[in-house]
């Protein structure tokens, strides 16, 4: 088990706002890690720095030994890191099928049509195939967003709030589908999540952010029971029976 993604001393500030303050994290291959924290704690900034959307003020990010900072999102995708988005980033006027065909085409898939059918099947999207992406229900949009990210067979998959905006009874369905799709393929999964039930169920490690810093890092039991995490992330008094 080796570290596939290593972040060292990341700093990022926007004027007076410190979005990342000395963040150092390392992720093992094939691990499933959840990033938690209140809004504005720096989780999405972290994802944005790893994927090249933002350049850290200081620090380094190494993926399989290669330095990522300074590279564009396109190049980083090429290295094998893909992400899904908090607000699904889809091609709204194209059908679900066409959305996936675009991704397959970019990934230079040899039999793009068949590959697309497979993906539709695996994610349960076949019946939405012909619909324009703009008209899909939110849960389906999320699924498509993740499906697009998986087309390129990434080694690291970053999911930004994969179940936010989705009906409570659909959340597990989405996570099951996504996790099922990556199982056994050596993919490292990092997902940002606010729903602690999802966090507990799907990951083996939790990293908690607050004010741009990592305040806890460990197993779900330990982190979710941590006093600071309870104070700054989960909220305490209301959770009498934890």
């Amino acid at each position: 088990m080796s570290a596939v993604l290593v972040c060292d001393g990341l700093h990022k500030s926007f004027g007076a706002v410190s979005a990342a303050a000395d963040v150092s994290l390392s992720f093992e291959r094939e691990s499933v890690v959840s990033l938690i924290g209140a809004n504005g704690a720096g989780k999405t900034t972290f994802l944005n720095m790893v994927t090249g959307y933002l350049k850290p003020d200081r620090g380094s990010i190494r993926f399989e030994g290669r330095e990522l900072t300074g590279h564009t999102p396109r190049e980083i995708t090429g290295f094998g890191i893909c992400r899904s988005f908090q607000i699904p980033q889809l091609f709204h006027s194209l059908s679900v099928r066409a959305n996936l065909l675009v991704a397959e085409g970019i990934a230079a898939a040899e039999r793009a049509e068949e590959a697309t059918d497979e993906v539709l099947e695996r994610f349960g999207l076949t019946r939405y195939g012909g619909q324009p992406a703009a008209l899909l229900p939110e849960g389906v949009r999320k699924l498509l967003d993740v499906a697009l990210a998986l087309v390129a067979r990434p080694k690291v998959l970053l999911l930004d709030e994969p179940t936010s905006g989705v009906a409570a009874d659909e959340k597990y369905g989405i996570m099951d589908l996504v996790m099922g799709a990556v199982r056994g393929q050596g993919v490292t999964v990092l997902f940002v999540e606010h729903d602690m039930d999802i966090v507990q169920r799907y990951c083996g490690r939790v990293v908690a952010f607050y004010d741009g810093r990592v305040i806890a890092d460990g197993t779900p039991q330990r982190v979710l029971g941590d006093a600071e995490v309870r104070r700054y992330v989960i909220g305490e008094e209301a959770h009498a029976a934890a």
């Binding site: 999405t44 944005n48 959307y53 988005f85 607000i87 980033q89």
Partner: protein
């Protein structure tokens, strides 16, 4: 030395004119996110109305000094009539659509107004030389300049200061700035965004018309004067940064002086230099010199 002075002075005169056009345009864009191609028609309307009003005034034997007031009155009239007409009557139905669609809508309005002007005033040129020649000339060294040019510069400075004061010192102005910053948030805070739009567009129209009205005594007012103005104003606004008043001023100065130098030393390249400056600025700063920061999209 004379040469350089001449270039500078000509440049500043031209810049003043450019600023009047650019100020309204950049204001409208900043608040409403609309690049108003009909700005050119409003300029033409200002010129025609000024020629008509001031012409009638002078023809009725009234005091010559009043003709200047007529020029300004013409601009205000055009602004007060055309502003609400265009904003309420046309643009209001298009809000929320793509920026380029709105651009095309203002382009359509421009086409309609061009012919409307022809229908109202005919195709003959109108001349209004008196306000221009009346104050006579003044001298810088051996060069003689019409005093009218000084009036133009003074007007531009006055308008610039007035706008700056109105935007940054008055309550109404601050509301405008808020809407420029974030329309949805402003509306959520209770700002009557529709009214802000109306006021902005009306003021912008007045400024365009003022540009036309003040230019009327210097040219032959005829169909098509609004056409080239549009492209020039855009160049200035883009250089300065869409939505920035200070940018419009600096952009106007840059373009005006460069163009003046070109006219003096290399006349064939006049238009080229203006757009060359624009291209250079955009390469260095893709959003113009003073552009608003953008929020993160993902």
């Amino acid at each position: 030395m004379n040469d350089i002075l001449a270039v500078l002075f000509d440049g500043v005169v031209y810049s003043s004119w450019l600023f009047l056009m650019a100020a309204g345009l950049t204001l409208i864009y900043g608040v409403m996110k609309i690049l108003n191609i009909a700005h050119g028609s409003l300029y033409a309307l200002g010129g025609y109305t000024a020629a008509t009003l001031a012409g009638a005034w002078l023809a009725a034997g009234q005091a010559a000094i009043g003709s200047y007031a007529m020029l300004v009155a013409a601009a205000v009239l055009v602004g007060l009539v055309m502003g609400p007409l265009l904003e309420r009557g046309l643009l209001r139905w298009m809000y929320g659509r793509d920026e380029v669609v709105l651009l095309l809508v203002t382009y359509a309005a421009f086409l309609i107004l061009e012919d409307a002007i022809k229908l109202i005033w005919g195709v003959e040129s109108m001349l209004l030389p008196d306000p221009y020649s009346l104050p006579g000339n003044f001298h810088i060294g051996t060069l003689a300049y019409p005093v009218y040019n000084l009036l133009l510069i003074a007007m531009a400075i006055l308008v610039g200061l007035a706008l700056a004061w109105a935007l940054f010192r008055t309550r109404q102005g601050k509301l405008l700035l808020a809407v420029i910053h974030d329309r949805e948030m402003s509306a959520a805070m209770g700002i009557d965004v529709n009214r802000v739009y109306l006021v902005t567009f009306t003021v912008g129209s007045m400024l365009a018309a003022l540009g036309g009205a003040l230019t009327a005594p210097m040219i032959a007012v005829s169909p098509g004067i609004g056409v080239e103005v549009i492209v020039l104003s855009f160049a200035v606004v883009v250089v300065g940064g869409l939505g920035s008043l200070g940018g419009a001023a600096i952009g106007a100065l840059m373009v005006g002086i460069v163009r003046s130098a070109a006219v003096r030393y290399w006349p064939e390249a006049e238009l080229f230099t203006i757009y060359f400056v624009m291209a250079l600025v955009l390469i260095a700063r893709p959003k113009g010199l003073f552009s608003a920061p953008e929020a993160r999209k993902i």
